[in-house]
């Protein structure tokens, strides 16, 4: 089991990078959706 720690580190890095990236997309989408709803409401008024 030589280098198991390196292998685990590499796989953890892969998932961490994509978890963080997916989280940023979700957060940006959430903000945009809120702002879009607010602006559409303003346009109706």
């Amino acid at each position: 089991m030589k280098n198991l720690d390196s292998l685990v580190a590499a796989y953890m890095a892969v998932w961490a990078i994509f978890f963080v990236y997916h989280f940023t997309i979700a957060r940006r989408l959430s903000r945009l959706q809120d702002e879009l709803a607010r602006l559409k409401q303003s346009l109706k008024q």
Binding site: L4, F18, L29
Partner: protein, 255 residues
Amino acid sequence: MATIAHAKNMQPSRSSAGEALATVGVALLLFASVYAAILVAPEERTMGLIQRIFYFHVPFGWSAFIAFFINFVASIAYLRSRAPKWDWLAVSSAEVGVPFVTVMLVTGPIWAHPVWGIWWTWDARLTSTFVLWVLYVCYLLLRTLIDEPERRAVVSAVFAIFAAFDIPLVYFSIWFFRTQHPQPVIGAGGSLDPRMLDVLLLAWSATLALLALLLVQRYRLEAMRWELDHLRLNLDRPGPEPQRFAAVGNKGGSA
């Protein structure tokens, strides 16, 4: 999943159930490829366990090339047509490609340290890959510096076309230069155990599915941002603008 939920609220006509299924499918494919890479693929004789990084390092690299090639094609298409949807695709593919190259740049040194005895060396393959990462990070930064949407799209499309010249340089660097990086294991005289090849192709299909999923989500984000920009314009300008927005909104939704 949060992304899908927001997209559902935003555009109810879109098939969010299909996208949720796609997300589950991609997750299963990724799980299967990790399982195969660790437990199914035979152990490489000289490198041992650490060689299993190869099953993600290489497919993520190939998928990054595809993402940046999409960026290149979309940038050319934008300059020819000036249709915003091509700019959305260009920025989406560049942004999604960056984490794929990041994976390549992070997993490479983790593999190199026990095998080469060093984390990094400035040889042609590693340097050109690092330059590729820098170029597309600069592309994304460049877009934040220009406020006017059309000018931003044109300038970044021109930048993207020049940045794309680094893609073949990265790919062919191990043919053109003497590098520390291993030679190709598929084609060009390389030989790979068929079981290793199967696992590699499974991992590549999983990373391609992940790329497609992220690209769809990121594209939707960009379409929504564009719609928001036009809504802001309509708020600033009184008059028959709401009708203009309606046309813009339909265009954004259908692209």
